[in-house]
Amino acid sequence: MKHNRRFVLVLVIGGFLTACSGTLPKPWEKDLLAKPAMAMDSDTLEQRFLQHIYTSKENSAGGASVGGGGCGCN
């Protein structure tokens, strides 16, 4: 009985953790994400410049951003 309760608890926690994973926005629902106000940084060129300096100093590149503005096309 105690073990069964533990199993149910694991299932419930697992369910909570994965509950949002199946509800990704569809490509046509990303209009708000594509708005300039939703950008993580205000100036793309400045961010690219800073990123260039950073990767030059670190001798590594990539992993700092994702492509596209929320339209799911890149």
């Binding site: 073990h3 046509w28 339209c71 096309c73 890149n74």
Partner: protein, 176 residues
């Protein structure tokens, strides 16, 4: 024989299999048409007064583009689609752009800035997009005679134009 969770091994195995099956089914596209399959009729009306995919007409190949006003690559694709329409509509190519914006004012503003000489249809509820399980914006699907799905293309970059033109001209039976 029981597992560390207190359940018999066969029960635990069954739960794990059910979970794996649920994940696998959940990640599958809902209604994607395979290449060569006949796509369902699209009766949505386009701006030229015809359905997006007419049963009869002079068209042999239909290029359907799913787009939205906020999508930058969609904007990039409009001049190219105008070019395709001008170049090959007399050869039997129908270009239709299905808009998926929820707000019609955004569509009108976009079309004023980026005029379309090809047909445009509005699908604010994304009914057609859901049927084709569109995964990116823009996505194009090219449909041949007998509503056979010829090919699809995700996104739009300027370097994609040559390949798309080659495939469309091939579908039209033209020498590229």
């Amino acid at each position: 024989m029981t597992s560390s969770l207190g359940l018999p091994h066969h029960t635990r195995r069954m739960c794990l299999r059910a979970g794996a099956a649920w994940l696998a089914v959940g990640s599958l596209p809902l209604s994607a048409s395979a290449m060569g399959d006949a796509v369902p009729p699209i009766t949505l009306q386009a701006s030229d007064g015809e359905p997006v995919l007419p049963e009869v007409g002079p068209w042999r190949v239909t290029y359907i583009d799913f787009w939205a006003s906020w999508c930058a690559p969609c904007k990039l694709s409009f001049p190219w689609m105008n070019e395709m329409h001008d170049k090959w509509s007399s050869q039997g190519l129908r270009v239709v752009a299905i808009n998926l914006d929820r707000n019609q004012a955004d569509v009108l503003r976009f079309l004023q800035q980026n005029p379309a000489r090809f047909a445009v249809a509005l699908d604010p509820g994304a009914v057609v997009a859901k049927r084709f399980d569109i995964q990116a914006m823009p996505t194009s699907i090219t449909i041949g005679p007998n509503r056979a799905m010829l090919f699809s293309h995700r996104g739009f970059r300027l370097q994609d134009r040559q390949d798309l033109e080659r495939r469309i001209s091939g579908a039209l039976g033209l020498k590229s």
